[in-house]
Symmetry: C2
Subunit: 407 residues, 2 copies
């Protein structure tokens, strides 16, 4: 008898009919002799609607009250899914994040899970009940409601799976699983049968929207096997785990892209210690995430430093950087939007420098200019013009297609 933690996203529970269909799917899993915990997101656009409502009251709602407001979306859907199970004769109980023992930091809107006390969940499982948990939320030690940041219902599911030592964590989405690239851009994109944690993490960080990087990180740390699959059909989905077969590791596993990229260049920076710190400290204190950072080799003690941020952060970034740039005697600060990043990811690249050359050649042959380059051990990322991103993804997917042949 296995223990499975399932998670159903917002699209999967959008409306009464879909909720009933989720209940059937849960019931089916239970009839296969499994104990089931199901984490649910808010229905459809509920979270956006609640944010709109708050913004009708004030442009700058308090984070703590915002969490209390937003948390109601998932509470509603977990109550409704539990009702739908009762209606088909399945014993079920709905729990809020707090009731499920999810204790978090006090950083409202982006709280971290500190611990999970699974006592109540375990007790209900032992009473032979299906446990439905509101995703995306927890509570502080003081019983204040927190939320874990956008898309964090996946994280709730993985964390519960870890705390309960579940056999499997199934994440139900509105897509069939993890693809080798975005199928809207690369017509040949294929569903991956499996992928290991590290590769999945790179794909997620480089823009694959299917899974939040935080959820993958936690799954890797606690070795929770994850299946990403569709709640609208019975396809097997993608298994994310540690044990991908050795012969598969020497491959490009996927192409990821992200069009939410703005670029800032600080020109004519003196190349002396402490300059980078002076530039990036103010951004860190504003909570602005800097993504790619490239500093050209210094000539005559003067260099250019470029980095990327989310488009939404560009204005604040420039305002924070300009006074520092003046202070350190930089020539100018240039800001621009309209960029995108495209990455190839695969454990196999680790000891195969040829991949970078093949990537750059493929883009060049298509007439796509590379603005910046950055690499990790298992990933190569290029910043290109956003209007060429479709071509870039398709080209790279074609170029490395052969590497991705099914096992």
């Amino acid at each position: 008898m296995g223990l499975i933690v399932q998670k159903y996203g917002g699209t999967s529970v959008a409306g009464a009919e879909r909720i009933k269909s989720v209940a059937s799917r849960i019931a089916r899993a239970r009839r296969l002799q499994n104990r089931i915990v199901a984490v649910v997101s808010a229905m459809g656009d509920t979270t956006d609607d609640l944010i709109d409502l708050a913004h009708q009251i004030t442009p700058d709602p308090d984070d703590r009250e915002m969490d209390l407001l937003l948390s109601t979306g998932e509470v509603m859907s977990c109550a409704l899914v539990s009702m739908a199970l009762h209606a088909i004769g399945e014993p079920a109980i709905a729990l809020t994040g707090a009731q499920a023992g999810i204790r978090t930091s006090r950083a409202h809107r982006r709280a971290h899970i500190l611990s999970i006390d699974p006592e109540r969940v375990t007790r209900e499982l032992n009473r032979d009940r299906i446990v439905i948990v509101a995703g995306f939320q927890g509570s502080t030690e003081e019983f204040d409601t927190t939320t874990l940041g956008r898309g964090a219902s996946d994280l709730t599911a993985v964390a519960l799976a870890a705390a309960l030592s579940a056999d499997l964590c199934e994440l139900y989405k509105d897509v069939d699983g993890v693809m080798t690239a975005d199928p809207r851009l690369a017509t040949g994109a294929r569903l991956l049968d499996e992928i290991d944690y590290e590769e999945m993490l790179e794909l997620a960080q480089q823009g694959a929207k299917v899974l939040a990087p935080r959820a993958v990180e936690m799954a890797a740390v606690y070795q929770v096997p994850i299946v990403v699959r569709s709640s609208f059909n019975d396809s097997a989905g993608t298994l994310i785990h540690e044990g991908v077969k050795m012969e598969l590791r020497n491959k490009v596993r996927g192409v990821a892209h992200d069009t939410d990229v703005a670029k800032v260049t600080v020109q004519g920076v003196s190349d002396r210690p402490g300059i980078s710190a002076a530039l990036f400290e103010p951004l860190a204190s504003l909570g602005i995430s800097v993504d790619v950072i490239v500093q050209n080799a210094s000539s005559h003690g003067v260099t250019d430093l470029s980095f990327t941020v989310s488009r939404g952060d560009l204005g604040r970034t420039v305002r924070a950087i300009e006074p520092v740039a003046r202070e350190i005697g930089a020539q100018s600060v240039l800001a621009s939007e309209g960029w995108a990043k495209v990455s190839i990811v695969g454990t196999g690249m680790q000891h195969a420098p040829g991949y970078a050359a093949r990537m750059f050649r493929a883009l060049a042959n298509r007439g796509i200019n590379i603005e910046m380059i950055t690499t990790s051990e298992i990933r190569i990322t290029c910043i290109v013009e956003a209007k060429r991103i479709g071509d870039a993804v398709a080209t790279l997917h074609d170029a490395f297609q052969s590497d991705e042949a099914s096992p």
Copy 2:
């Protein structure tokens, strides 16, 4: 420096503009050097919408899950009111019923408040914050969310006022206060400046919708002074307290009516001990509230027994009564709808039997037949045809008008 518990009903918080207006009103009360706790209901039709949503899933939703679902309505509005206060520079914090320390029985959908631990509320007040509490809800010892029954946000406010030894409990409604009769039926209906607990309780029990009887009962027990007033204007409203002036007590204070009345008559019942118990025990075990009960004097050891229930309970009542009636040898069970009750209430009637005669005469002069009569020490109630209820209320309000002259 006083402590005031306010309560804002669903109409008062229906929409962003009204929520901002509630925030201004709270801020104004605070600037008068008061510490404020404000209890809020769900916005407008939210509760009905949530019930509809549940019924799209299943005709018979589980009570526990229904409570979890319904509780989100008040959580949303308390978060929004707190945000609106932040937006105008007032320190505020929103608390769920559970966070506000409201512990209840486990009777979901109709839980009773067992105790209030005001520790968190007091702590926030001491930090100079306005405390906004989600009405209508609490939690069990096991931290399961409960609701207190329809309209119970008034009860939350009165209970908090009692637990905090507040100086005043202000209930903001979409009406100006407690009226001498329904102004839609009696054109001369006046706003009462004040009324005592006992009279208010009778009015509420006999159909005055302005306040739930439970809230009045609790206010009476803990001697919490209540003001019922409008959130849409600055009229002073009605003060409900113990200390109504002596010279006012010898009056009819108001006319109440209720059209949700169905009648059941069990004919030809043997007049022997245990018969009434046999009839009413099954209704009690079904949770059906029986209102007026009249048993005519027995002739030849056989009597008729009539009682009233809510129209919605009539079907279940008849199904429960019929087998018992057969068992005890009654002749027949008659059920009918289309009834209403009209009551006059006033402490003064206690030792003045003339009031009953005046009431019956007034109705007779208007050609209104009295079907059943029942009295308490400070109330006389007649059951009449529902289609005559407008005439009955207007007639009685006119007849006792002189008794109600302002102090």
